[in-house]
């Protein structure tokens, strides 16, 4: 089908408009992170910084005083905390969740359907419903302000999701393979590790990405459960740039850029998995 020149013009016009709208805020994020205070607070705005300024990056990691004279929170600790919490949460959920998902997907046992439906129902609950009780429980167990506490709390909303996702990937694997393996004398656990897990690698990757991103981006629980820098995650650290008397936008954008980079890079590199994961529910059928 050939397009008319006018249609062609509008097509490219809107395509460029679309790209500009997506890219402009990202451009501003990067530019602001590499601008000095003087350039950031200049009127009219410097759309292109005259000089690339690296002071924000060194300051955010070295600490020191910010614009209003308050201390810059230790950003490195927050990065470390976020990596540990997101990583361990994902590891726990993938291991524990896959095992359970396999049982739900493949085995016939007492109350199997009822339990699975219950897990789907739990997955639909908004996180806010467990915020108050989990906060009190963690406080009583002295797990507030600890990474372990955060990991447990994050597991509470990512685990049902992992079971749900993985169950569908396991179901897609032909049963005949397992029958053959079990005739060859492999146990259920052997089948699970030697046959099922390798075959469902794409599913594992997709599920792990979503779990990682969810844990990395989580804010509400991290905000409530942590009050000391030992346990604060990146999202909380970034939110604190705004609670000072005066906002140091340069530092804030630097922090934002640094914490956005890992998810953005993962999304770009593993785009295929993400799109398939996002859309599998909505279009297949």
């Amino acid at each position: 089908m050939k397009r008319k020149p006018l249609d062609e013009f509008f097509l490219y016009f809107f395509a460029i408009l679309f790209a500009l709208i997506i890219l402009a805020p990202f451009y501003w994020l990067v530019v602001s992170a590499f601008s000095s205070k003087a350039e950031l607070l200049s009127v009219p705005v410097h759309w292109f910084p005259e000089k690339i300024y690296l002071g924000n990056i060194t300051k955010i990691f070295q600490g020191g005083l910010n614009i209003s004279g308050g201390e810059v929170p230790p950003f490195g600790t927050a990065v470390k905390n976020s990596i540990i919490v997101a990583g361990v949460t994902t590891l726990i959920c993938i291991t524990v969740g896959s095992l359970a998902a396999y049982a739900f997907g493949r085995m016939n046992f007492f109350l199997s359907n009822q339990l699975f439906i219950a897990i789907i129902a739990l997955r639909m609950l908004p996180e806010i419903v467990t915020v108050v009780p989990l906060y009190i429980i963690m406080k009583k167990l002295c797990l507030n302000n600890t990474l372990l506490g955060l990991i447990l709390v994050y597991t509470s909303f990512t685990l049902p999701f992992v079971i749900w996702m993985m169950e569908s990937y396991f179901e897609a694997i032909p049963v005949e393979l397992e029958d053959a393996a079990s005739i060859d004398g492999l146990s259920r656990l052997g089948i699970f590790f030697k046959i099922i897990m390798p075959l469902s690698l794409p599913g594992l990757i997709t599920t792990a990405i979503f779990t990682l991103l969810t844990a990395w981006d989580e804010f509400l629980f991290a905000l409530i459960m942590t009050s000391t820098y030992q346990a604060k995650t990146l999202t909380v650290a970034i939110s604190e740039f705004t609670t000072r008397h005066m906002i140091d936008y340069g530092l804030m954008m630097t922090g934002g850029l640094l914490s956005a980079l890992p998810p953005l890079l993962v999304a770009l590199a593993l785009q295929k998995y993400i799109v398939s994961g996002l859309t599998s529910g909505a279009i297949k059928g």
Partner: protein, 313 residues
Amino acid sequence: MKLCAACCRNRYKKLVKRGITLSAKTYRENKTAYFFILPAMLFIIGIIIFPLLYSVYISFFDFNIFTKHPPFIGLKNYMDIFKSDYFWQSMGRTTYFTVISVGLELVLGFLVALLLNQEFKGRSFARTLLILPWALPTVVNGVLWTWIYDPNYGALNALLKSLGIISQYKNWLGTAFNAMNAVIVADVWKNTSFIAMVLLAAMQNIPKDYYEAAIIDGASRLKNVFYITLPLLRPAILVAVVIRTMEAFKVFDIIYIMTKGGPANGTQVISYYTYINSFQYSKYGYGAALSYIVSLVILIFALVYIKILYKKS
């Protein structure tokens, strides 16, 4: 929450079918199965079921972490909530936020999907761009837009003034009405991507012959959109909208970052209202009761969602 998106509608079909598909194994494997699900069940009981029940218990008390023996007050927390003007105002704001942002996201997401479904140079690059706002953490999106909206040095003011659209810098987050709409714009910028990605994938599943046949019959491009694309996209649209509605109704992060519920409570949505009651006023019982009411509303959407999935299969 991102997780939600990847839901699978085949689930229910499978549940129904399970008796048949697994009937090759007529024997039950209770012991092996329980061994497989035991770790997960321990987690689920410990960190989901128990807190849920504990939360019901809390909601019947005038619960405060500092008092040793909080008094039992029955349903008073729930009654107080329904009598509170703040509660109804927060519900109203949440509804406004949800309807406007999801509505805009749907319209824009559909248009973007239509655009990216056309053939043009740089299309794969444009499709890659789509994933960027989705992957940007909500908290970062919040601080980024707060900076863009800055009343004195913000990029938006500078841009609009240089284009001659405004004559003076505006305080975008300064009044209740403006602040709510400004937050909605930030939310729409980030979340339109999700709907666009889902709809684009669904559009790619529509066979090209449908359009070609229609064009031979003399249909215009616009008619094709209305009579072929939209009807075939209906299930995908429903799923995307219900997922986004559930997420928008519990919006918290971006509100906390950009406005903290202000100015003059103008952006105090229901999650934020629950948060300040629980953790600033330490009214845990009231907060627990509130969170149950919010969940109930979201569960209604969830039921709709499950029903759509079930119907399709």
